[in-house]
Symmetry: C2
């Protein structure tokens, strides 16, 4: 078939195929879908890609993604800036915001320390976090990095840097997930759930 | 969360979510992937969308998608123009070409007659096909529409139009798929396989 390729179509399929979780068949379907769009739809799709890429950068305070100087959470006067919840990724902010519980601010590291993947503390937004804590007014830093080896290591590393500054450092609770089944919970989670049990 | 939306990001997620088979979570992952691209990668992705949409149109002969006046198959002097294989969709051409067997040309209808979806003969590239046949030099028209009610109806409709012009009209063989299991073949396929049996 190589000899019968239509270059712009092949290129579009190739572009879709580079996206995560999109195989050749899906890429083909997406490309044909784009061909079926109106001119305006295709152009606004293309514009959305370029726009998002051009306009979005890190918030000057919390390093979350934003299209203004400060992200909407750091701009909000109702959020408590003395509480900082440290997460690995912007998507984690979205997940935590869905709880509608937390009223403090965030700090997005954009990754976790991982020697295997050659990601060191200098590759993450750690100096911005330390600057915020050193500036004063922070009462508690909540570590909400992922419960993985890398996330744990990052939380430990940060707590060693922040505690000496006289600020309380906490970690999200471990335990059995709500709605989960004890039978399918792993040993580590169960032993953490035992250790963290509370009186009824 | 609506109050904390970053407009260009929300727009990009929304654009991905409109694609077929992409839910909200996948759209979010794809949008964040785009943000992680280099400027050049994002721009060439956006350009591929606009380019494909602008440059691709129907081949002047067979209505297949192409970026030139004629599609690569109609341009190829080694393909036999006296044989026309009629398919519903450009993707069907790709599938048939993968067999590396067929040396004739194609005609892409861009759909099938479907009264339920309000698609009539005038919505398909049928008059272009009739013009090709009327021009002469065509020996056989092979119906390769899908083995569905709509595909069958379209094949029947076309054969009634083309046969009076003195051109042979054939249909792809029905039968058990190679590598399939008799046990799982449906009754209609099996009875067609009986009717179409050949001597060994």
């Amino acid at each position: 078939m190589a000899s019968y390729t239509v270059a712009p179509l092949a290129n579009l399929i190739d572009q879709f195929e580079r996206l995560p979780g999109i195989g050749h068949k899906s890429a083909q379907r997406l490309a044909f879908h784009v061909l079926g769009m109106t001119k305006e739809q295709a152009e606004s799709f293309a514009k959305a890609i370029v726009d998002a890429h051009e306009k979005i950068h890190h918030c000057a305070i919390c390093c979350n993604l934003t299209d203004e100087k400060l992200c909407p959470i750091c701009r909000d006067p109702k959020r408590d800036p003395s509480l900082i919840c440290v997460v690995e990724d912007s998507r984690d902010v979205l997940a935590l915001e869905r709880t509608n519980e937390y009223r403090g601010t965030y700090h997005v590291l954009h990754g976790a320390i991982s020697p295997l993947q050659d990601i060191g503390p200098e590759d993450l937004c750690i100096k911005e976090l330390l600057a915020r804590v050193q500036k004063g007014g922070v009462q508690e830093v909540i570590m909400a990095t992922n419960p993985t080896v890398e996330g744990e290591a990052t939380a430990m590393y940060l707590s060693k840097l922040i505690k000496p500054l006289g600020v309380k450092v906490t970690r999200l609770a471990y335990g059995i997930p709500v709605g989960g089944d004890l039978e399918y919970a792993d040993e580590v989670t169960l032993s953490r759930a035992f250790a963290g049990r509370s009186e009824l």
